[in-house]
Symmetry: D3
Subunit: 286 residues, 6 copies
Amino acid sequence: MRYRFLLIPPFRLPSETKWGYQTLHLEADKVKEERLMNAEMVLPYLEDVEWDLHPGELAGYGDWPVETREEFTFAANARLPNIREACESGNYNGIVLLGGGEPGFLEAREICRKFGVVCTANAHSQMYLATMLGNKFSVVDISGVHNVYYRDLIYQHQLQNRCASIRNIGMRLPRPGTEDDLQLREERQKALSGKKSIAVENAITQAEIAIKEDGAEVITLGCSGVFWLRPFIECGLQKRGWEVPVLEGYSASITLAKLMVDLGVNASGITYMGDHQIQLPDKIHV
Amino acid sequence: MRYRFLLIPPFRLPSETKWGYQTLHLEADKVKEERLMNAEMVLPYLEDVEWDLHPGELAGYGDWPVETREEFTFAANARLPNIREACESGNYNGIVLLGGGEPGFLEAREICRKFGVVCTANAHSQMYLATMLGNKFSVVDISGVHNVYYRDLIYQHQLQNRCASIRNIGMRLPRPGTEDDLQLREERQKALSGKKSIAVENAITQAEIAIKEDGAEVITLGCSGVFWLRPFIECGLQKRGWEVPVLEGYSASITLAKLMVDLGVNASGITYMGDHQIQLPDKIHV
Amino acid sequence: MRYRFLLIPPFRLPSETKWGYQTLHLEADKVKEERLMNAEMVLPYLEDVEWDLHPGELAGYGDWPVETREEFTFAANARLPNIREACESGNYNGIVLLGGGEPGFLEAREICRKFGVVCTANAHSQMYLATMLGNKFSVVDISGVHNVYYRDLIYQHQLQNRCASIRNIGMRLPRPGTEDDLQLREERQKALSGKKSIAVENAITQAEIAIKEDGAEVITLGCSGVFWLRPFIECGLQKRGWEVPVLEGYSASITLAKLMVDLGVNASGITYMGDHQIQLPDKIHV
Amino acid sequence: MRYRFLLIPPFRLPSETKWGYQTLHLEADKVKEERLMNAEMVLPYLEDVEWDLHPGELAGYGDWPVETREEFTFAANARLPNIREACESGNYNGIVLLGGGEPGFLEAREICRKFGVVCTANAHSQMYLATMLGNKFSVVDISGVHNVYYRDLIYQHQLQNRCASIRNIGMRLPRPGTEDDLQLREERQKALSGKKSIAVENAITQAEIAIKEDGAEVITLGCSGVFWLRPFIECGLQKRGWEVPVLEGYSASITLAKLMVDLGVNASGITYMGDHQIQLPDKIHV
Amino acid sequence: MRYRFLLIPPFRLPSETKWGYQTLHLEADKVKEERLMNAEMVLPYLEDVEWDLHPGELAGYGDWPVETREEFTFAANARLPNIREACESGNYNGIVLLGGGEPGFLEAREICRKFGVVCTANAHSQMYLATMLGNKFSVVDISGVHNVYYRDLIYQHQLQNRCASIRNIGMRLPRPGTEDDLQLREERQKALSGKKSIAVENAITQAEIAIKEDGAEVITLGCSGVFWLRPFIECGLQKRGWEVPVLEGYSASITLAKLMVDLGVNASGITYMGDHQIQLPDKIHV
Amino acid sequence: MRYRFLLIPPFRLPSETKWGYQTLHLEADKVKEERLMNAEMVLPYLEDVEWDLHPGELAGYGDWPVETREEFTFAANARLPNIREACESGNYNGIVLLGGGEPGFLEAREICRKFGVVCTANAHSQMYLATMLGNKFSVVDISGVHNVYYRDLIYQHQLQNRCASIRNIGMRLPRPGTEDDLQLREERQKALSGKKSIAVENAITQAEIAIKEDGAEVITLGCSGVFWLRPFIECGLQKRGWEVPVLEGYSASITLAKLMVDLGVNASGITYMGDHQIQLPDKIHV
């Protein structure tokens, strides 16, 4: 097949955790379709792909999903050896990093490029694709520290002049200390079973405020824990009269990886220089 | 088929012109594979596409290829009705505008969006994809006024902070007044037949200077009359020790159109607002 | 006389149209003072000018004023030959392009420069003069797609860092599909006859919000169909305690053309390069 | 007359100074045409103006022309009372600040606006007019500290994204410690008497390098002591094949002041707020 | 001692003025601790410093504190000779310019650098330190013209991309024409004596709005007349649940001067070039 | 003592490595003064500090110094637990992260802030201090991938508009595959023993080119393996006539940490939000 992709989760939670969310804590021996987050939404993008889903590296810092910068670095560090191993296996021509905060993306791209493997990640793909669809994008995210971590990514990707705002749905992922908060797990279940869900309501409203007030003309999603909201926001905006594209990370990263494979291009060998470079520019422009 | 694309040339020259170049002056009744510029390079991207190649609208301003801003507007104007007609036909889910200077792209996108048809063009696709591959890109172009026209596109697309320079190969397309210049037609023939070609030498050298001195980390091509240089530059840079991706417009625009069809997204209805909008933001952010 | 100017409307509507507005549909054989939009406001700027008013090229896309990007390109294309002809006539040392959206301005400037004729247009003149009067400007415009088209101009002119916002008066020009909307024609008549007019009220209020909230310190006007509002906004702001300059396009472009004639300067021969250039920079900086 | 302008020099040197330059040290009782720097070049712009030339305030810091930031502040301070007095006299509707480094311009504009008097200055006028003529401008200046002082002005006027470079002619104004340097006074005399002048050669060469290498598409002049070079540079560039406009400060500021009087506009009352303001924005946007 | 600093007030008011504020009008023969504004807050920073407090130069423009651009230039001019004299004395290795609007700072730095004396000022120190603590800062200031003067400083220091807003407490310093306004002197007294003070309430509220709405993540203070508010705002924000650093100018400038002395660095000899430079760059980059 | 600082190296190499450099591979039981890199240069800054030097976490990825992005993440991850432990110990009010590429700085700052401990790092401190000393800075670094990793930091810190270039000394740290290159270890030894050293020559020359051509007005150092060059560059530039400050990371970070302790401020609780925040802004501004 043209596309041979490995999808790598940002981390895996122990199955017995009480902070599980979606498929993050599923056992590694489940079939990949079951372990894939929002499978029904994502599988169509994988139809013409020979793909594996890495089990994900067990979270070392605790048994809840990452949100702080510290936790993201632990996750980045943990999955880099898996990425290198996947490159060395020669089995893949593309690695798709799962996880809205794309821990380890720049490092992974550095590794993959040397092996001629393309590498995409959920924030980078969404943001840049968003700039091809409209003037500015906003990010709809969970609330709290994840927002400012995510802003770091926007600065790193140099897209501050195209980002209108980062807004949140007023809820977080499960986590010690959030026991008394409104639970996103429950709100997601309600939505999926066709009931009214505050998570959905908030997401649509925040997207609309981003459009009406902040200057957003495209909507993207931050944490992968809110990617399931894509069709709900899309539909909700449409009902309110807005014709605004909504992106989520998995489909954005998978299709972008395909595009790069199709074009036969990979990341620049200067931007993602390896450790032994033949030629160097006179200086590095910033 | 998933992709039903119409490719529309920027213009067509009369077949009897003495300023013909590549396929620009081929008769409209030739088969599409023959009329397609750099067919051997581009056809692989169309394998899974049901595609037509519009004959192109006959150039009204003269019988030479467009280079000045004035000529580009004539070309833009001439092909807009064809674009509208193609949308109305219901035959296509994507329109790929051919032509490095993408005459009429913003207008075309405005039209296409209303019909749910995606629309891509050669400068926009290359530039934005380049930003996803590396830090800054340079444009290798023909020389003269086309360079400053092309810069207008970069400002329009708001990518000035990601463009390192626009460099040229020291030659132009055929055109009244260029009779005594070195002829790109001939230099192209030499290159394709395996001979040493100044056009190729200059292109590689300018790309290399862009990388060494200007800060380019990705190379893109300006005028579609130099798109055939892609493999020569790619290979030339590699030989000189540079691992830098090189893009050209046709493949970039075809694969981007596919990506947008795959994702089920189109341009933002705010950025490319139609004439009767249901909802409006409180103000337009600039 | 020192100044010999040709004023060229963006287009002309057929006199029998039901979408006429101000003088846009007046017959071409009327005297120029009658055909000049907002003549009473503009004539003082023409006192020391030997001027003609081109009849304008008949709109080809329909019989209503331009608003969409598509319509603007049709208008641009239609008037370029008239501009070239005027340059070739040798009768003028300045061409003033009428029309808030300045269709064909960059192209016209390219043409005019080669003939030593200065060329100004309504958006460019207002915007740049605004930056000489205060920190940031806002645009007060008709509503809808014209706003985002106008934003394209701001990006093209690289003034995004000086534009606070584009706000609208909640009305549009006459146009198929707007029959049931509040009519700007009527609101204008009310204002001119000293009655309360919603167009005027909205314009003053939007200008004030732009100042109070968006950071505008100068007000400019977008579509030429709202240029007549200049004295009303100026006066309305003053009454509410704001000492903020208000510009409109005709006077801005006429006086700027005079300034350029006085200084003996024209557009740069690099920025607006002609088709056969003697000297070229090493590369084009973006 | 429509225009009643006062021209105010940046300072005056004592007539017995050994550091005199052009008219800076002429006695205040000379007729204004004699005291006007580069009168032959500037008088045509004053033909339709009722104008006075202020004698200039005697330099307090020494008897040489200003170059350092410290000296510029002394000059700014010294002429502000004269500006206020001129406003209070009611004799003028425009004040033109002479001096390339425009000491006291922002302060003067603050004062003048309250009196309904327009105020222009040599750096601001040139720079902003340059942005209306082409993409980027370079400044050709004397050498040394004046260059970095001048850069402060560019940052203050927020035009860093439109300035390609500040280049110098390798000479300074007369000044203690420059006795052994090449003398600009002498080089200027040579040029005016038709002889070869290093000042002229350097100026043309630096302008050309700015165009070829730095990205300049318009040339402006820094210190008023080099304004006399305008025709020499203009002509020199033309001979070398460059069609690039060259501006100098006096004509730029006079014509801009006329434009503002013609348009009936003055600086924004928010940007140049007075000390007792009726209305204030909710916050000041930066 | 390691640090030998001279603190120089922006100006001094005559002791008999009715527009006195804090210590600005105290007689010059008082002991320095008494003449130091907000001594209790500032003295701890001077414990390891051998310091003098210059009496300040008597205001020449009137007997009220500076607020307009004009007044700031008078103050700048007046204190420059004192700064030069202090440098020449050899008594100091640091000069700390007091006054929120830092009149004469660039000039002073130019002078001091030549003598090897470091020089800091209240706006520059606060702003730059703020950028080291968080993403964007807002300025809380007195109201009116001082805000736009202060914005000039932000542009001069090139920090517009890091400043979220300038907000004000709705009051001004004592000044002719403000007799009927709420008096900051009184409100300050109330606050210091533990009573409810509108100045304090407004300051906290404006800081909070800056954080909640404008994007401020650090708070700085504008006019030195509001520096006393630092602990009140800090505490008020904390009570409302915000963990946001608050800076004021005196402590920021004193500690920054110490840091520069410790590091053995001073301002760049290119940025703050003296009048006789040995080496010059090829051109000045802007 | 006022300052209680822990200095934490970026990593530690096994003592038996053949890729040791400076003190990176010294055994953890040596006294801290011996383990401190460039102790003679740095100790003066620690005189008034009660300090510890953490042994550094043993490098997990190999036994050579970090250079690639991948290696930097391993280092970041490895030292975060040590940083958290140090905070929890209550022994310190400041943590100074050693290492030019500051692995884990943002994460460390997030952790430290919650404990009221200030945290500084070598790139951030140098860069921001550089912007307080002059217009733009350049970085002098080792060659290769470290340059582009370092550029990531500049984008992350949003200082691209203040960085003139990243230049390199043409050598790298010891590393597999560099056996045949010129050895920085040897060149350093030569320099310290007063002999001519290519490392020193190159560093001075690159710094000078950065100043003459790139627009640098302050010099900073990239990798901590070149920090020892500070006095050599400073002195070399002075000899060539340049008065340009040169910074290195250890002293910059130590003095900045002191300043923050003195001012009683720490990083913003919004920028470096913790995991349970009381108050949140309405949206995150980017």
